[in-house]
Subunit: 98 residues, 2 copies
């Protein structure tokens, strides 16, 4: 299993709207994405308007090829992109689990 780690800086004060947009995507877009397992969004305790988004994928390819090359990715970015103050920073690690 692969954990996608994303640092998202949103526009000042846009946190609550961003959180609602992610919840909406979690309920509508992600359930149909191949290899998607779980999503967790948490605000930074130190940095205002910053969030940590953790997404679990079955494989790296499920995220980087399957999802990113799909219309679902376009829909996801349309939903959350307007709240970004800057491009999110993303990395992956492998984690236990099949």
């Amino acid at each position: 299993m692969v954990l996608e780690i994303v640092q998202v800086q949103v526009r000042p004060g846009a946190g609550p709207e961003f959180e609602r947009a992610v919840e909406q995507a979690e309920a509508t877009i992600f359930p149909r994405v191949k290899g998607f397992r779980e999503l967790d969004l948490q605000p930074s305790l130190e940095v205002p308007d910053k969030f940590w988004l953790f997404i679990r994928w079955e494989t790296l390819e499920n995220h980087m090829v399957g999802f990113r090359g799909s219309p679902d990715y376009t829909a996801w970015r349309a939903l959350v992109g307007p709240f970004f103050a800057e491009p999110p920073v993303m990395e992956h690690v492998e984690i236990p689990g099949a």
Copy 2:
């Protein structure tokens, strides 16, 4: 519960030694630290010689006041500090769990 998220850039090639040092600390230092719950270390899939260290704490104070003000913190830094290529970057988020 609080998740400490640390990004650690180690000296080129020092990854395996750093991993062993963290394992040693996990076995010897952390079990006696108040509020420590769990530690996970994973190499970045994108950035060479970079690790993501996730540490779960019962409270933020357990980490920032209790641990950081203790001789155990000095011992921890003595163990892993020599492998750092630069100061680690740390943040916290709250996560579910008591």
